[in-house]
Amino acid sequence: MSDQVDSVQLMPDIRLPAEAKYKNELDALAAHDDKPRPPGWALSPRAVEMYILGSPKPVGGVAITPKYVGDKGLIQVCIATLASDRALMLVGEPGTAKSWLSEHLSAAVSGTSALVVQGTAGTSEDHIKYSWNYALLLAQGPTPEALVPSPILRAMRTGKFARFEEVTRTSPEIQDSLISILSEKQVSVPELGEVTSAQRGFNLIATANTRDRGVNEMSAALKRRFNFVTVPVVEDLEQEIQIVTKREAELRTDYQVGVPPPEELSRVLLTLFHELRKGVTKDGKTKVRTPGAVLSTAEAISVLFNSSILAQQFGSGTVTSQELAASLVGAVVKEQEDDVKALREYMETVAKSRTGPWKELYTASKKLLRG
């Protein structure tokens, strides 16, 4: 427990973890939660749902803001899964708020979202189970003090949720070390001759993005230990505008930089993202080439945030199409030449014929996209 508190305190202010940032909401929900809580849970499933989706009425005088905008059923499946003995696997396109969701679920249920393993090609079994403090190990031999528990082991000991980001980036052999943890709920440390069993309240939330599927496909045995929830790309334009505007404003507060972009421009940006993603314009009349880059909600947030900084630092102080175009090109055109073409084509066929900010965006981007 103590090391979590440390980690929270050590965390620089630039980005607070969910449990710290929304502490007042979580406290209020806990204080007014009269529903039964599963063992080890800080809140009842209903209260967790309310924390994630927000509440129209304030609870105990505290407004509960929505953390995730979308299908209620999806969140309920997540919560119901976490209350069972199966782990939760969130899958979806990059930038669909999988990690965001996993952070908030952990924060609401366990009071901490800090027990994270980031899956990479270099993730080893040590990161999943435990490793050693080698100085101590050499000095004293294998002792409990010399053991460095992994975030997952710490979660098991304290009955909290552990998070495993991007499982499919890890090699299959390493992934499979999760199987025994998830089915037996224990980790044995043969060097110490002891077995650590998970306390009640332990579970695992993993994320995997669908673009990486097939790089390291999970084994059937491991899949069986998870319930899968697909986090969809936001289909509804208005909903996405709402998400992007809100998150971008939060970022500006967190980093204390940037100026608020006009609503009109957010709409232009999201419309452009929607149309490029779908490969057809809103009215369904014009076909558009789809670029290879990922056009996620997260990407839109970053483009908007980026242009607001540009405007404040290098521009006139208000966000214009100029800044938007500059940030946009960097986001859409990531690695492939073809994406330049796709964007240029879009500007020529769609943006050019529209009015208002579209026209300005077209002019601004024309210079940037040349060559």
Binding site: K72, G73, Q76, V77, A80, S84, V91, N227, F228
Partner: protein
């Protein structure tokens, strides 16, 4: 009308096809023990209660009401085993009570002027629709109410609020009536109010006949019941109903997929199989969920996916946890679906929504007791389907027939008869070979030449509806088909149409119409001046001579067909010259006809081959006819080896010479190249004539003739172009460049192609110019 008396009668409000309503209703009937059970349903179908309750009848079945005056109009009243109306009838039978339908007769409901009388579903859902006040509205009241309660659809709300909880009759009746009152608050449609009045009169008549009102049970849609109890019935409304049309009623099998098609308040059956399971489990929706999940898993395993028992357990647990989280007393379809996606399908909803979902819908087809209800057409259909082992489920199945054994020829005749008679059941999906011909023609000439037929068949209630309706045309399938073909024959205006009917008669084995069609063909051919029509008739007859008579089973014999074929061909030849003198608009049809005649002349020994060649030569030489026909005739004659190569070259040279109008020359070319172009462009002399022509055309004229030229040369394929090129280069002595071009043509690797020298690039440009 004594409305006070009406409210003393025992009323039970129902939602159609609701298993919970059924369960509560049966408990209620046990308690009330009525001697008369009156059910919402067409009153002239009361005679069919025996059939419905017969031990051999297995729902889903439907009452079919249809017009008997030839106007195609019908309506369906379907029942599942879990429909409260059906169980009310069954209860009455088992307990010695009288059971009657009390709604307006079929004839009246068919006569009510409504939106296009769709087959069954549309009209049914309205007649069964208790209380959707404005069905066309974008978001109906019921839907809006469900959403305000935090549900995603009305169906979800209904399941959570009405189906899942274990109601007692005392609680259920007032709740459902209160709900109906809420929905009735809006203006009710005049049609529903008229039916209220009619039903109320029927109920009171029963009471007047001496039955104590306490012993009369009325089982009707909640909206009607609410109106009865509120006394909101205006007897004058009844008079506004239209007079009944002539009609009849029967019972036909129905199926789960059709039941699932009817959404909205009235039917509300998104998953009949699931509800059936719930009904069988005494409305234990948890058990139904588990059973359906087990079915799912078995289905997944069958399709090669992994689906273990532990997954099923987890899915079940998740569904139950979800329903707890949503404060429902048992899982409904939404929980079932979400749990299945998260566990068995690993987050991938496509499996569930594309094929797996069908298993909650089910594909069961009901069965009607054999002693009544089937007319001779239905009997014949079901007998044939049984004997021939054809598909009898409500899901599409494919199979193929080999037309070299008599049994399968019989099946083919049967299926073609259904097709011609317009009874929806099977459709031809091709010859079963890998050849892709797009939409293959089901009948006609194409059918004669087939040795295999691939079919796709699916029984739907509309099959039986059609069988019932077609009885007016005849009492056997052959009689109906004959009648349909005869009508087509009387309407036939041209020889081709008559010949089509002839072919259909042969394919469907209708010997009577074979004879008549032959006569009509003959009569038309004598006066028909239309070459395309005659040619197509000649082809049909020729096909019949070649393949078809073995299937005709007619006593006219081969000779009649053959002599008519000969005559028709002869008549067609007589029209060739006149027809060929046509403008550019009509020429395409004429060209087709000429090719058909050529085909017949070469393939049919009885056709006047020599006569055709004379005509063709005439066309070739004539300058009065459309040049395209001359070109075609030249090509055809050359192809048939009636014209030596030198003569063709000469002829083509003449036709393309400078003296001829370039537009005519181009048209000639178009006709000429329509014939097997490969053979033509292989001839050096022909190509030379072409080349000379193209080079000599004046630029201005060239531009004018370009469209026609493009059309003519555009039809050439890759191989033909290559031969043309080689010959052009031969003629122009472009040998060296030719070799270089050949290297380019044969070079497959793009990279190497790029590396080829600029010289070759130039050769390519030349090539482009030439093409």
């Amino acid at each position: 009308m004594d409305l006070a008396l009406l409210s003393r009668v025992q009323h039970f409000p129902v939602r159609h096809h609701s298993p919970r309503t059924t369960a509560v209703l049966l408990k209620w009937l046990e308690r009330v023990k009525p001697t008369v059970v009156l059910v919402e349903g067409p009153c002239d179908a009361t005679g069919l209660v025996d059939v419905l309750c017969d031990a051999q009848t297995r729902p889903p079945v439907a009452i079919l009401g249809y017009r008997t005056d030839g106007t195609p109009s019908s309506s369906l009243w379907p029942f599942a085993a879990y429909s409260p109306e059906y169980q009310a009838l069954k209860w009455a039978r088992a307990n010695g009570a009288r059971a009657e339908f009390i709604d307006i007769p079929v004839g009246v409901s068919l006569a009510v002027d409504r939106a296009p009388p769709g087959l069954g579903v549309e009209s049914e859902s309205e007649s069964m629709e208790g209380s959707t006040p404005v069905p066309d509205e974008a978001v109906p009241l019921t839907e809006a109410f469900a959403r305000s309660q935090g549900h995603r659809s009305f169906e979800e709300f209904w399941e959570a609020a009405f189906e899942a909880p274990d109601w007692s009759p005392e609680q259920f009746r007032p709740v459902l009536i209160a709900w109906a009152d809420v929905v009735n608050a809006g203006p009710r449609s005049a049609y529903h109010r008229q039916r209220d009045a009619f039903m109320a009169r029927k109920v009171l008549e029963v009471v007047a006949s001496g039955v104590a009102p306490e012993k009369v049970a009325v089982v009707a849609g909640a909206a009607h019941t609410a109106a009865f109890l509120a006394g909101d019935v205006d007897p004058k409304e009844e008079a506004k109903l239209p007079p009944p049309g002539p009609c009849a009623v029967t019972v036909i099998p129905y199926s789960f997929p059709r039941l699932a098609e009817q959404l909205g308040y009235g039917a509300g059956n998104r998953a009949p199989h699931f509800y059936q399971k719930a009904h069988e489990a005494n409305c234990d929706f948890r058990r139904a969920t588990l059973e359906v999940l087990l079915d799912f898993a078995a289905h997944l395993r069958m399709r090669g996916f992994s689906a273990s028992l532990s997954d099923v357990l987890e899915a079940y647990r998740l569904a139950v946890t979800l329903s707890d989280l949503r404060e429902k007393s048992a899982p409904g379809l939404d929980e079932l679906r979400e749990a299945t996606v998260a566990t068995l399908c690993r987050g991938d909803a496509t499996h569930v929504d594309s094929f797996l979902w069908k298993s909650v819908v089910g594909h069961e087809v009901g069965q009607v007791a054999s002693r009544i209800g089937q007319n001779s057409l239905q009997a014949e259909f079901w007998r044939e389907v049984g004997e021939r082992r054809l598909p009898r489920t409500d899901s599409p199945e494919t199979f193929s027939l080999r037309l070299n054994n008599p049994v399968e020829v019989g099946s083919s005749v049967f299926l073609h008869r259904l097709r011609v008679a317009g009874i929806p059941y099977a459709s031809l999906s091709g010859t079963g070979s890998s050849r892709k011909g797009g939409e293959a023609e089901a009948g006609g000439y194409a059918a004669l030449t087939r040795v295999r037929e691939a079919w796709q068949a699916q029984w739907t209630p509309s099959t039986d509806v059609a069988l019932v309706e077609k009885i007016v045309l005849g009492d056997s399938l052959e009689a109906v088909t004959t009648r349909v073909l005869q009508e087509r024959l009387t309407q036939a205006k041209t020889t081709a149409q008559a010949a089509d009917v002839l072919l259909e008669s042969v394919i469907t084995g209708c010997s009577q119409t074979v004879v008549q069609a032959l006569k009509v063909c003959d009569a038309h051919a004598a006066t028909d001046a239309d070459l395309p029509s005659l040619a197509s008739a000649a082809r049909a007859l020729s096909g019949l001579m070649a393949y078809g008579t073995s299937r005709a089973h007619s006593d006219v014999g081969d000779e009649a067909v053959a002599s008519l074929g000969e005559k028709t061909f002869g008549r067609a030849l007589l029209r060739v010259r006149d027809a060929s003198a046509c403008g550019p608009d009509a020429v395409a049809q004429v060209l087709d006809a000429l090719r058909t005649l050529h085909e017949v002349a070469l393939s049919q020994p009885r056709a006047d081959k020599a006569g055709w060649f004379v005509e063709a030569r005439g066309l070739m030489e004539s300058h009065a006819v459309n040049p395209a026909t001359s070109g075609l005739a030249t090509g055809l004659l050359y192809l048939a080896r009636e014209l030596p190569e030198a003569e063709v070259a000469l002829e083509v040279g003449r036709r393309l010479s400078q003296a001829v109008d370039p537009a005519d020359a181009a048209a000639y070319l178009e006709g000429f190249l329509q014939v097997n172009a490969l053979v033509l462009v292989k001839s050096r002399d022909v190509v030379k004539a072409l080349d000379d022509f193209l080079v000599s055309v004046e630029p201005e004229r060239f531009r004018q003739t370009l469209p026609v030229l493009r059309r003519a040369l555009g039809s050439l394929g890759a191989t033909e172009r290559r031969y043309l090129m080689e010959n052009v280069m031969g003629v122009r002595q472009l040998k060296d460049k030719g070799r270089a071009v050949k290297a380019v043509l044969e070079e497959k690797d793009k990279a190497t192609l790029k590396d080829l020298s600029a010289d070759l690039g130039k050769a390519l440009d030349d090539l482009d110019d030439l093409l």
